[in-house]
Symmetry: C2
Subunit: 493 residues, 2 copies
C-alpha cells in the first residue's frame, strides 16, 4: 500500500503547482520559443504601447523560421485554391463561390474541385492518414524527385513535420533505456520529445571545422559510447539540410549514414523540411529515400521515415500546420499502430492537407497560374540566397564572430568567442555564457543561444534566421556589429 | 550493465515490427476510428468502385461526430472571413482581395481585418497560446455566458479540444501511479491518452437508470476503491453534455462534482464541447466555470480546465482542428509548463484559431451577416433536435433495443439485449459481444460498439450519431430495424 496515494493532492489551503507535474514535462526545453523570445515579445509589446525605454524602436524576430511574419509574400495559387475551398461545401456551391471562380485562373478552380471530389472538404474530419488526393500528389512528387516509385499508401499527412516526428519518436521509445541518436547542434523538437517520452538522446556531433559535415567515425564513437552505458540505441535522426547549421549533406555522407543504420540495425528518421532551401549548386539536395534505394544491400532493409513541411521552402506557410511523412521499409504492424496514434488526434487540418498536395504539385509550365507562381517562387528563393550571403559575410567581418556560410535551410549559426571574463560574468548570473550574451543584447535582433540546440563543450554560438526583410538587413547588421564591438571592448576575446 | 542494450534492434535478416514499439502505444485503443469504421471504409470504397456484393448501396458513417461529411452546411460568415484572410498577407492585399471584398458583407471584411491587425496572419506561426484577437473574443463569450469575468490570459487556443485535453493529462500524469477519474461510458480520447501517458484510468459509472446522471455516491465509491488499490487520484474529467451518452447535467450535479473535487483535492477537467448542443429547455447547459464561481468555498480553490471546440455545435468545422481551453485557479508555474508544451508543437492552425474567435463572437442582430447566420444556425439546430427525437423513438420501438432520449450532444447510446446464445457466439469469434454484433451488421449504418466507450459489465450498447441527413433517416431506421428483428429471431432476447 502506497501511503502517499491515500492523501489528496490538494487541500483547500494548497495550490496545485509545477512540483506536482510530470517530471518529463518539467525537464523538456524548447529554446526557440524559450525565455529570450518571450522577453523579446514583451519588449515588442512595450514598444507597441510606447512604454519602457529601449535604444531601438523595433524588434526583429530572427529566433524562428517564420517567413510570413517577416513580410514574405504567400504564393497566390495556393491561397486562391483555399479561398475556393472555403466557399465550397458537400451540399453544393455557396452563392459566392461561382463569383470568385470567375476572378481566378481556371487551374485554381480545377484543383479545388479535385480536393472536393476526394474527401477534401476542409470542414470535415478526413481519414487520419490524410486525404487521398494530396497523398497521391505527394507520391508523384517523390517519385519524380527520386526516380524510384512512391505510393500514397506510404504517406501520412501530418500537422507540420513536428507531429510526424513526435509520433514516430513516441512509438520508438519503448522504455527509458531506449536511445535515439540526434545531431548536435539539433533542432530542439528532438531533444524535447525524447525527454517527454523519457528516452535517451544519444548525441553525435557535427563537424564545424568541416562546414558541419557528418562523420562516420563520430557516429561510431557515439553509438559505442551509448551502448557502453547500457543504452538500447534504436534510431538515428538526421536533419538535412541542417537546422540550425544550414549544411547540405553530400551523397557520400548520406550513403555512410544509411550503411551505418543497416549495420547497426537502426531506424532512420530523415528530417528533410528544407529540401528546396538549397543555395549552392555544388551541394544539391539528395533525399535519403533515393540514396537508400540506390544501395542494393540496404534498399529493402533500413526502415526510413522522411518528413517534409509546408512551413519552410518558398511557401513559409507555418500557420497551416501541414506536412507529410513517407514510410519506407516499415512493417504493416508498425503502420497500423501509427495510424491508430494519428486517429486519436483525428486528423491534421484539412486545409493544410490540401496545401501539402499543392506544394508537391504546384502549377506547371503551360498552366494559367504558372507564370505568377514561378515569379513568386523565384523571387523568394533569390532573395533568401542574397540574404544568407549578406548576413553571413557581415558576421564574418565582426570581431569575435565566425560563421560557416549556409548551403541550405534558413539559418546561420555563427560561433562567438566568449572570454573567460564573460564566462565568469555569466556564471554569476546562473546562465549559460551564450544565453547570457544573447539576453544581454541591446540590438534589436532576437536570436537563440547555441545552448538551446547543443554545441561542443567550450564553444558558443547563436542561431539567427536569414528571414528578416532585405530592406532591414543593413540596419540589423549595423546594430549587431555595434553590440558585438562593445561586447568585445568590455570582455575581450 | 543491460546486456540486451548491446545488441542492435535489427539486423539485415530482421524486420522492425510492432513487438518493439512503445507498449503504451500498443495498448491504447480508439474505437471511434477502430476496426469497425476501418472495415466500413473498405466497404464504402468497394461500393464506389462497384466491386464486392453487399445488400445495400451506401454506407452511412454514424460512428463519428463529423457533421459536414454528412452534408451539414457550413456557416457562410465564417467561411467568407477565412476567404478574405486567404487572400491577405502582411505585405499588403493581393489583387483579388479587393474584388472579393466587394462580394461580401461589410462585417466580413471588418472581422478579417481585426484578425490581421492582431497577429492573425494565417500563414505565420502565432504565439503558442494563440492569437490575441481570438483569445479576447473567447474571453468575452465566456464572461457573457457565465456572468463572471474571463481573461484572454487564461485562454489557450488548441488544435481541437483534443490537444488541450491531451496536454493537460500528460502534465498531470507524473508517474504510473497517478489516476484520473473518467466517466464510463466515456469518449475514448481519455482512456487512450491516459494509456499513452502510462497513468491509471479510474472509472466512475454514469447511471443509465437515471438518464445517465452522475451520482455523488458513485464518485465516492470510485475514488475510495482506487485509493484502496494505491492509486494517487489527482484529477476528474467530466463530459457535459455527455459523449456518448447525450445527457445534460443539472446544476445540482455540477455543484456536487465541484464540491467533491474541492474535498478530495482534485483537478477538474470539464469537456464542454457540446455546450450549444442542448435540446431540452428543462435541461439547460451550465458551465462548470459559472457554477464554480457561484460556490464561495470552491471559487478560488478548485483548479479547473474547460474545453470547447469548433468541431461540434452548429458549426461542425471538424477539419479545422480548432478549439480552446480556459484555465481557472491554475498556478502560474503550471501555466508556464503548459505554454512550453504548446510551444513544442509551435501553435494550432491559425485559420482554426481565427474561427474559434468567430464561433465565440458570431454576427449579432443588426450586423449585415446576422440574418443568414441566424437562419443557418437555427436550421441546423432544429434539424438536429428532430433527428435526435426521431432516431431515439425508432430505437425504442425495435425489439431488444432501448434508448435514453438525449438532451444534448450529437449521439444516441442505445442499449441492446444480447442473449447468452449471442454472447457465446461472440466468444467463439474472440470478440466482445457488442463488437461482434456491430461488425455483423448487414444494414448500412456504421456505428461503434459500447465496449469502445466502456459500459457496466453485462450491458451492451452502441453509439450512433444523429447526424445522418434528414432525408436518409427513414431508410436508415428501416435498415437497422430489419437487422435487429432478424438478429432477435436468430439469437433470441
Amino acid at each position: 500500500m502506497v501511503l502517499r496515494a491515500a492523501r489528496p493532492l490538494l487541500s483547500r489551503a494548497q495550490t496545485w503547482t509545477a512540483d506536482a507535474l510530470n517530471p518529463q514535462l518539467l525537464k523538456a526545453q524548447y529554446a526557440v520559443r524559450g525565455a529570450i523570445p518571450l522577453r523579446a515579445g514583451q519588449i515588442a509589446e512595450d514598444l507597441r504601447k510606447g512604454v519602457g525605454s529601449y535604444p531601438f524602436d523595433k524588434v526583429v524576430f530572427a529566433n524562428i523560421g517564420n517567413p510570413q511574419s517577416l513580410r514574405q509574400e504567400p504564393i497566390t495559387f495556393f491561397r486562391q485554391v483555399l479561398s475556393v475551398l472555403e466557399l465550397s461545401s458537400n451540399a453544393g456551391n455557396h452563392e459566392h463561390r461561382k463569383q470568385i471562380e470567375n476572378l481566378f485562373p481556371k487551374d485554381v478552380v480545377e484543383r479545388a474541385d479535385a480536393y472536393l471530389q476526394s474527401g477534401g472538404l476542409i470542414g470535415a474530419y478526413s481519414d487520419s492518414n490524410g486525404i487521398r488526393q494530396s497523398r497521391e500528389e505527394v507520391a508523384r512528387y517523390i517519385s519524380d524527385r527520386d526516380g524510384y516509385p512512391a505510393s500514397p499508401d506510404d504517406i501520412f499527412l501530418t500537422a507540420g513535420a513536428s507531429e510526424g516526428i513526435a509520433n514516430v519518436l513516441e512509438a520508438l521509445i519503448a522504455n527509458d533505456n531506449v536511445g535515439v541518436m540526434i545531431p548536435i547542434p539539433q533542432y530542439p523538437l528532438y531533444s524535447a520529445t525524447i525527454t517527454l517520452c523519457n528516452g535517451r538522446a544519444v548525441h553525435y556531433y557535427l563537424d564545424e571545422e568541416n562546414a558541419w559535415d557528418m562523420s562516420l567515425d563520430e557516429l561510431k564513437r557515439s553509438i559505442a559510447a551509448a551502448r557502453n552505458e547500457g543504452t538500447d540505441v534504436r534510431a538515428l535522426a538526421v536533419i538535412n539540410p541542417g537546422n540550425p547549421t544550414g549544411q547540405c549533406l553530400s551523397r557520400e555522407a548520406i550513403e555512410n549514414v544509411i550503411r551505418f543504420c543497416n549495420d547497426e540495425g537502426l531506424v532512420l528518421l530523415a528530417d528533410e523540411v528544407y529540401q528546396t532551401n538549397t543555395y549552392d549548386a555544388t551541394r544539391p539536395f539528395f533525399s535519403f529515400k533515393s540514396v537508400l534505394r540506390s544501395i542494393p544491400e540496404c534498399s529493402e532493409s533500413v526502415p526510413l521515415f522522411s518528413f517534409h513541411s509546408l512551413s519552410k521552402g518558398m511557401l513559409g506557410e507555418c500557420g497551416r500546420r501541414g506536412g507529410y511523412m513517407e514510410m519506407t521499409n516499415i512493417d504493416q504492424s508498425v503502420r497500423e499502430n501509427l495510424l491508430k496514434r494519428a486517429s486519436i488526434n483525428l486528423c491534421a487540418s484539412v486545409a493544410g492537407q490540401a496545401m501539402v498536395g499543392m506544394m508537391c504539385q504546384p502549377p506547371k509550365p503551360g498552366d494559367e497560374s504558372y507564370p505568377l507562381y514561378n515569379e513568386q517562387f523565384t523571387a523568394t528563393f533569390e532573395s533568401l540566397k542574397r540574404r544568407a550571403q549578406k548576413l553571413s559575410d557581415a558576421f564574418n567581418s565582426m570581431p569575435g564572430v565566425s560563421c560557416i556560410p549556409p548551403t541550405g535551410a534558413m539559418y546561420l549559426f555563427p560561433r562567438i568567442e566568449l572570454s573567460s571574463t564573460a564566462q565568469d560574468a555569466a556564471a554569476k548570473k546562473g546562465l549559460a555564457p551564450d544565453a547570457w550574451s544573447c539576453s544581454s543584447r541591446r540590438d534589436w535582433c532576437c536570436v537563440v543561444p547555441g545552448s538551446g540546440f547543443g554545441q561542443r563543450e567550450g564553444t558558443f554560438h547563436f542561431r539567427c534566421t536569414f528571414l528578416p526583410p532585405e530592406e532591414d538587413i543593413d540596419g540589423l547588421v549595423d546594430s549587431i556589429r555595434a553590440f558585438q564591438e562593445k561586447w568585445v571592448a568590455t570582455y575581450g576575446l
